[in-house]
């Protein structure tokens, strides 16, 4: 007799849908609840980042990088200034490096908090999301203390920072970390070891190692698949080689290596590692040093090109900068980690139930601003 198959139904998830994290459209072919094919359509937030870069000066690119990945603006700034400093051969002083690392790691915590919260929201748990946002607010307070903005900072400049950290920032950060560390355990307890959440995410959407590498998936998603790859360790930029921290790798505690639960849990572990790095960076931060010390008067990089990568909360962020010697970039390409993470959606998402597809999408932690640019 064979298996009786129903007619396939085409279902558009998005562009407006509570679980698409913005304006993404997933066109899924479904047979009942089972999804047989997923075709992502994006570009609903294509804000012409690369065109803007070809029309504004190198300094003016920084606010636009902010707006690309609006959940980890600091990390986006960081990647850009690292690339520019490499291109122009600028060395910044110790204090700047320490502040940058502190900020980037605080941003990583904030971003991962939102991601884990939203993952819970996708699975129907509303409360952990608000708890995560509550703690994220305190990180935003620290940023606000430093540069006056809550979300888009324009804080790291090529060759320095826009402002030095204010008095009391270090103490406030220590205070926050002391408050925050028990809260991570709380978040882990309510989400990670919840029986229903484990049932919903373990063994779901398994991303094998070779698939992840072939699709260019990076960051926590790649590490969850069992690949020990973190640019902070493997290709250290800034001063990351001085700090002691582990790179959490998915171990398949609740299911297979590389499932949704691993991708989610790796982020919680990374929050803890970031706390470690911040503590070290604050402890070893030099008291003196002008943050504007090596700020060039005019940004006019030599003719040439550079491809530079940094580790943002979502993975390898690459900037390809092509300079023709003028103060305006000739071509600037951002290789965004969420773009590659979303491309794997059909590969790992097809064949699961509709609810699982949204769980998988949530576990990939995409930001549409960065995908569409």
């Amino acid at each position: 007799m064979g298996i009786v198959r129903g007619e396939e139904m085409v279902l558009n998830i998005g562009p407006q849908h509570p679980a698409t994290h913005g304006v993404l459209r997933l066109q899924v072919k479904t047979d009942g609840e089972v999804v047989s094919q997923i075709t992502p359509y994006m570009g609903y937030l294509h804000r012409c980042f690369e065109k803007h870069c070809e029309n504004v000066t190198y300094e003016q690119v920084i606010p636009f990088t902010d707006r690309c990945d609006y959940l980890s603006s600091m990390s986006m700034n960081f990647g850009y200034v690292v690339a520019m400093e490499e291109l122009m051969d600028i060395k910044v002083n110790e204090r700047v490096e320490h502040i940058r690392v502190t900020m980037a790691e605080l941003q990583r915590i904030a971003s991962h908090l939102l991601c884990t919260g939203v993952f819970g929201l996708d699975l129907g748990a509303f409360t952990p999301f608000l708890w995560a946002l509550r703690d994220r607010e305190r990180i935003l307070d620290l940023f606000e203390l430093t540069c006056g903005a809550r979300l888009l900072y324009n804080y790291m400049w090529v060759g320095g920072l826009s402002h030095d950290i204010p008095n009391g920032f270090v103490e406030s950060t220590y205070e926050f970390l002391d408050y925050f560390e028990p809260k991570v355990d709380e978040l882990e307890n309510i989400l990670a070891h919840n029986k229903i959440l484990v049932e919903r995410s373990a063994d779901i959407g398994v991303m094998p190692k070779d698939v992840a590498i072939s699709y260019g998936v990076t960051g926590p998603n790649l590490r969850a698949s069992g690949v020990n790859w973190d640019l902070r360790k493997n290709d250290p930029y800034s001063i990351y080689d001085r700090f002691e921290f582990n790179v959490p790798v998915g171990e398949g505690i609740k299911g297979t290596v590389g499932d949704c639960w691993d991708r989610f849990y790796v982020r919680i572990l990374e929050i803890r590692e970031s706390v470690k790095i911040i503590r070290q960076a604050l402890a070893s931060m030099p008291k003196d040093g002008d943050v504007h010390q090596s700020l060039p008067k005019k940004l006019r990089p030599p003719k040439g090109s550079i491809y530079s990568r940094t580790e943002t909360p979502r993975g390898d962020l690459g900037y390809y900068i092509e300079s023709d010697g003028s103060p305006i970039p000739y071509r600037l390409k951002m290789r965004s980690p969420a773009f590659t993470a979303l491309s794997v959606m059909d590969e790992i998402g097809a064949g699961w139930l509709l609810s699982d597809v949204l769980a998988i999408l949530g576990s990939l932690d995409i930001v549409l601003g960065e995908i569409d640019r």
Partner: protein, 357 residues
């Protein structure tokens, strides 16, 4: 029963003042209005409770009546009133591609299903609108009407999300009727009656005579019934038919204004009905927890409502705490866990009853 009582009472009060037929209609309308008033007040209360309880769980304050002009009163107490009122005066959209008659019928059907369920719930020894000898059976049967309404809503909206919601709710509610029924059969075995009042009178004489403490099998039956009740009322972790992060709003996706308000309210009324059945069957109904203490008719209403409200509160509490199950896990839980345990429970209780004599 109550209608007869009111009829006789009115007849004594106003002998020959009104015609017999008119008096009968009046006697029927009075409980109706009382019920309607109760549901309205209960609806406002429970929606306010949902907003507030969820807010406290989530570390915020919820509606505080802050706002411009004459705001929602102290602590936002008038918030549900404003919510309801503004819904009733919104534009009523019927999509052009919808199945018009069914689309209009669905919200009324679901509301009627919930509404008539309440008449068999006893609030006191004589405070019951209709004491049927098959009360518990009647409530289960009427409760199943909701399924038809949900399928109608899902189908007639001509929207894929609504269709998913309707289909999911059909599968879910029909499945969970069985474990719920199985755990009520155990109660009926003990009380040897289908009448709500007789089940309650079986439990008279304090907290230790309640059916939940009757024998070791009963707590299991209660837990199964309560979890099935969550599924039947579409509450988290079983809110698949209207899961917000998956199906936008499920079967109510296309409903706006007053029709949506009916769906919204009927969910809460359903919660109350199911909780009241659970309180009747397992927690002694309107009986006081202490023998011969606060057992007057007025207090019996208090006990019944507070027991039911406690269970409603637990439902709200659960909703804001746990994630949602997947559709196959939902079925697995029902057919492979609850139903075998339920059957085993019936077997166990039968033996227990026989041994006890």
């Amino acid at each position: 029963m109550t209608v007869d009582f009111i009829y006789n009472f009115l007849n004594d009060l106003l002998p020959g003042f009104l015609g017999n037929d008119l008096l009968l209609i009046l006697a029927m309308l009075l409980p109706f209005f009382a019920l309607f008033g109760f549901i309205t007040i209960y609806g406002f209360g429970v929606i306010y409770a949902e907003l507030k309880v969820s807010s406290f769980i989530q570390d915020k304050t919820g509606p505080m009546g802050q706002g411009y002009g004459f705001h929602a009163g102290k602590w936002g107490l008038l918030q549900p009133v404003a919510d309801g009122l503004h819904l009733f005066f919104k534009e009523d959209i019927i999509p052009a591609t919808a199945d018009r008659p069914l689309f209009i019928l669905a919200p009324f059907l679901i509301f009627i299903g919930m509404f008539v369920g309440i008449i068999a719930i006893p609030f006191g020894e004589a405070i019951i609108i209709s004491d049927m000898n098959i009360g518990i059976f009647y409530i289960l049967g009427i409760g199943s009407l909701a399924v038809i309404a949900l399928i109608l809503a899902g189908w007639s909206s001509n929207n894929k999300w609504a269709l998913y919601g309707g289909m999911r709710s059909a599968a879910q509610i029909i499945s969970y009727e069985i474990p719920a029924g199985l755990s009520l059969i155990v109660v009926i075995l003990l009380a040897s009656s289908l009448s709500m009042q007789e089940i309650i009178s079986y439990q008279s004489g304090g907290i230790f005579n309640w059916i939940i403490f009757d024998n070791p099998f009963m707590p299991i039956a209660f837990i199964i019934f309560f979890i099935s009740a969550l599924a039947e009322t579409n509450r988290t972790p079983f809110d698949l038919p209207e899961s917000e992060s998956e199906l936008v709003a499920g079967f109510v996706t296309e409903y706006s204004g007053a029709r949506y308000a009916f769906f919204f309210l009927s969910e809460y009324v359903n919660m109350f009905v199911i909780s009241a059945v659970a309180a009747t069957a397992f927690l002694g109904g309107w009986q006081s927890p202490f023998p011969n203490f606060l057992n007057t008719p007025a207090w019996s209403v208090f006990w019944m409502i507070s027991k039911a409200f406690f269970l409603v509160f637990v439902m709200i509490w659960v909703r804001w705490t746990v994630p949602r199950l997947r559709v196959d896990q939902l079925m697995h839980l029902c057919w492979k866990v609850f139903i075998p345990i339920g059957l085993f429970n019936i077997f166990g209780v039968s033996i227990w009853t026989v041994l006890r004599g």
